[in-house]
Amino acid sequence: MSGMVQKRGFGHYMTHAGLIVGVLIIFFPIWLAFVASTVTQPEIVKPPMPLWPGDQFFANYKSALVSGVNAPVARMLMNSAIMALGIAFGKISISLLSAFAIVYFRFPGRKFFFWMIFLTLMLPVEVRIVPTFEVIARFGMLNSYQGLIFPLIASATATFLFRQFFMTVPDELTEAARVDGARPMQFFWDILLPMSRNNIAALFVILFIYGWNQYLWPLLITTDPSMNTIVMGIKQMFPSGDDVADWPVIMATSILAMVPPVIIVISMQKLFIRGLVDSEK
């Protein structure tokens, strides 16, 4: 597309203009939230609020982190981090092992397990909320990190992706390792894992964001505000009834809720996009 219609001049500038407008529109809500997090409450309550950042940056963010509205945001950030990292690492490790088992070993029921795993691709957690809640309650895992993490690593999407990747590893490589004397687990550790680095990295980004942005599930199983994750905790900062919300703090929290995922996505951008686009095939 580019070479043919790339003209210096009108078409070119229009293209850039269009994209810039697009970026501005997309960024507007984020920008506004940032501004709101740097001004005082009265400035917001009396519309229109200013469109340029104020000077309350440190005050508001400190207030949010230290006391928040019903729980310190710093605590919520930590909860989110633990949950997201737990989900990412947990899912990746068990999937690697399962995919390895499915691709490289022959054992009875292999096909059955594969289809079983395949089934789980189809159902996000939202569909099984009620009974999963009961299971977690029965295990006594309400209001706990395990409760936050386990149900979200139960689906086998990552296993499937790794399986697809492992199948592209040439047989010759496995045979060469066999001739070299590597036992299966050595092969897994010394050769398969390093070769999977790209996929693991991409999956890490995706899973981290998936875990960090979880809403419904943490909402259900945490009743203790100190276990709130930051994404679900924001809604709870809104007062019920007619009170005015503490907008600066809420907005500061929103911005904080965005920062870790954005950092991870941007810094691993190349890797992640390649992995995303390739893995969905």
Binding site: S2, I30, A101, M116, M122, I129, P131, N213, M258, I273
Partner: protein, 280 residues
Amino acid sequence: MALLLPQLIITVAFFFYPAGQAIWQSMFISDPFGLKSQFVGFGNFEFLLSDPFYRASFATTAVFSGLVTVASMGVALFLAVLADRLIKGSGVYRTLLIWPYAVAPAVAGVLWLFMFNTRVGVVSWYLGNLGYDWNHVLNDGEAMGLVVVASSWGRISYNFLFFLAGLQAIPKSVIEAAAIDGAQFWTRFRTIVFPLLSPVTFFLLVVNIVYAFFETFGVIHTITSGGPQQATTILVYKVFSDGFVGQDLGSSAAQSVILLVIVGALTIVQFRYIERRVHY
């Protein structure tokens, strides 16, 4: 063999068991205290299918996901076409446009709520100045509009990435051949680019619909709580409100099962299509 064990245990305990439970529970009606339950077979399902509220929710979901899908894919395609035209610089725009992907739907909900809040929202204030009284708390259409926009906003990044990759994968020689044959931009787009993009488009269609069905819970809960008067109660939200707020476990479970069937069907369609397309 033992390698599979961790995966198996977790999947069975936290997936199959609850899923099975959901199916089981869907066939019971329990009293509000959860003390007694009565087997009703497909009774819950029958009730749901004739329940006007449930049907309304169905319609709402259809409208909602349709709008979100079209909006987010349309804008994304437009931006991707623009970005594809650039030889350099597309990377910068890509970096900038990725941001919303990292934003949780629930947070997106809060951001848009903030802008349109009846009391302090900037946009609603400006609209007020122009004579338009925005109030999504009372007005169905505006509530729907707001959640659609908030949901689409986050989705644009994801679709943009895929469309851009798809566009960049089209061999330039094909486009150039068409141009030599005399086709102008719009014709080229219609007859060559778009058909070649169809695998990506189809894939995104399914993924976006699934997204609209499920992951938008956060948006709805944050902005409208399903209101006003259930005007924005999409199916998954209803599962939540009936099950957790209304404590009607049987009905909620039945609704889960219905959703399960829908998603299952969509996923199967997607896989069949992809498998077929891959051999090309």
